[in-house]
Amino acid sequence: MHSQAQNKLPNTSKKANIPKKVNNEAGLAIINSKAPYSSHYGKDALDVALIFGSYEQKVSLFFQGDGVHQLIAKQDTSLLSIKDYLKTFAAFEFYDIEHVYACQQSLLTRKLEPSFHITDVQVLSTTEFSAALNQHQHVLRF
């Protein structure tokens, strides 16, 4: 099923390296739908992503709705007395987390510029976003 979805996704299929031996063939998708500092959802989602990464399991991150605010570059949490968990996003490569997607429609609704985000984020149209999500065996939402 996911191979069909992959064909429709020229932007994302290049790096796709789907292990055949494990049960969760296309891995885990984590949807981030909440703004970063009003709750712990973002941090809890990040913890799950890093654990899956360190166990060498495929994991992709999807940001939609207010979740796209987590991707804004150079945020400063010092005024909020909150630990800046977003800094850890820079370590995705180390954890082999290669796929980070942002929903274009969510950016438009929030008037965020296409260049607003940290590096290595792919902005996808609603159709591409759902197709990429559909490639995954499992989904968790935070």
Binding site: V22, N23, N24, L28, H40, Y41, D44, D47, V48, I51, F52, Y55, Q57, Q137, H138, V139, L140, R141, F142
Partner: protein, 122 residues
Amino acid sequence: MNTLAVVITTPPYSPLTATAVNYVETALEAGIKLVGVFFYQDGAMHANGHISIATDEYQAIFHWQRLQQKYSVPLHVCATAAEKRGVILGELTDEVVNKSFTVSGLGELVELTSKASRLVQF
């Protein structure tokens, strides 16, 4: 064989818990293998043995215990999530944590996910 893993991220007083219990029980009765239930975020509160829910409300924790006893369903609670909610208290842990739950790390979630053909979150 269809295998299922369930993730509970909502607290025991959430109306979603009744849906989760019904879903899990129906799956078990249908012969689906449940590899385990993982309690994360506010779901970790389920493992607090001192929670008391008013008698006219849905007894979420009771029903999870019932499923655990009837079907030997492994109930894992995330240690970090439990700790920050006061469910794990050092030497007092045994007194606080409900005996039906196993204190586990997030690695257990990886394990359950890799064994399951379906992962469902409530």
